[in-house]
Symmetry: C2
Subunit: 272 residues, 2 copies
């Protein structure tokens, strides 16, 4: 629909951009409902943590204004706002002597999938393992080839893939975070070595008592309830986990997951 | 100087580019001497291997023509040609159903550093460790935040940093490959788990008998000669390896390194 580049209505960027050259930057993807970006300040807070990690400065107030202005053009209905922040380019080479950034914003239509929110989805264990890199873990940087490969290799018919790290720990969905519930007790993987610390995950950590821990595949398979979440689609219950065309486990859409969906709908509007 | 985007004289790309969004692509950086790109076919061959790994198709003949045409505009002297190939964008999300690619070429001036080629340079052990990811190792993809962080943290006064992987194996320089010589015997790190398999490294493997192996820091520190290489600057002898401001080892610019420089100068023109 509309794009803003450093505050200007424009949709092309310089070929010298360091986001393109090296993935030297960060991004956020927000659900926009009736012209209003949900959880904007949480997304800006994560962006700020990413900027600190990569050594970037961000004019956060300005970005916030631009995001709100762009979303106002959306009218009613569902959209997705994508924010990209890249390190300004001052010449060739990995090294850069600047902390200055570019701000790219883009708004596009989104078709909410209420069916999957309701009845859940089958997910598949990805064969792509996440590398361990604590310097980049948790933040939403632009180096996403692992996710691209995992998403591209995902067999047809699956909404989402579950990713393990190189040591076999369960980490996340390709585009979501993972929660399991065992006897009413919430657990979610530790993301200090790999994975993206999602804004919806952070919100669930605020409203529920959740144990953040190293999670094994067998713990996930034996859980009472399993769901994946992100800040665009909310919560998708997981009804089956497959690998190599074999069913590893089946789950019912349980009452704890349903309650959590209701809480998030009240707080964010997603899934209402 | 000049840029070509899919064959057209242009220097701005779509904000929806998957190279920007996810680093979903590859690049090459070539030395251009008097309008002629050095080792072009070796670079195209590596690009082809990268495309196979990422599931991308490339119109290689067309790219070759565009590269030669762009370099012809350069006239005499030294330039650098950068080639970027990204997966075509068909919409939002990690998953893509296309193998089609965009071709971006850019030519810029280069100032050869003959002094460093002659007298060598001090390098510093980087504190940034490379993650182990065999799916991405060896190819020159666009996910380069590890190199950006390493280059940005490199203390002033160092031309290059040496990078280890998470297990402490020596892998490469931030923008170069590493060779050591012990009693006339060449060794270079195995790059099956991390690192970039450089075109200049490949050429040296062709003209010398080189042992490719897991290399420890102590093997590097006790070597007779050490050098780093890439296809833009050629070979820089390493005269000192430091870490945390301490000198770990000193090296003379030895006869084997010198002979190797001479051979490459004859074959490529770099350093002549």
């Amino acid at each position: 629909m509309y794009s803003l580049i450093n505050g200007v209505l424009e949709d092309h960027i310089s070929m010298a951009d360091r986001g393109l050259a090296y993935g030297d930057g960060l991004f956020e993807t927000l659900r926009v409902i009736d012209g209003s970006p949900t959880l904007l300040d949480s997304h800006l807070a994560r962006l700020h943590r990413g900027c600190e990690r990569l050594g970037l400065d961000l004019e956060q107030g300005l970005l916030r204004e631009e995001a709100l202005a762009l979303c106002k053009t959306a009218g009613t209905g569902d959209q997705v706002l994508k924010i990209i922040v890249t390190r300004a380019s001052l010449g060739r080479g990995y090294r850069s002597n600047t902390r200055q950034t570019n701000r790219y914003l883009d708004l596009s239509l989104y078709a909410a999938d209420r069916q999957t929110m309701l009845v859940g989805c089958a997910v598949c264990l990805s064969e792509v393992r996440l590398a361990l890199q604590p310097l980049l873990a948790g933040i939403k940087h632009l180096n996403r080839l692992e996710q691209v490969l995992a998403a591209t290799e995902l067999p047809a018919g699956y909404q989402e893939g579950l990713m393990q790290d190189m040591q076999g720990h369960m980490i996340e969905g390709i585009r979501s975070n993972l929660f399991i519930i065992e006897k009413g007790h919430f657990m979610t993987p530790d993301l200090s070595q790999s994975g993206v610390s999602g804004v919806m995950r952070a919100l669930i950590l605020q409203i529920q008592s959740v144990e953040v821990k190293q999670l094994t595949l067998s713990e996930v398979l034996s859980a009472d309830e399993v769901f994946v979440c992100n800040s665009v689609f909310g919560i998708y219950p997981v009804t089956r986990i497959d690998a190599d065309g074999q069913v590893l486990a089946r789950f019912k859409v349980g009452p704890v997951t349903r309650t959590c969906q209701d809480q998030l709908a009240k707080l964010t509007g997603i899934g209402r």
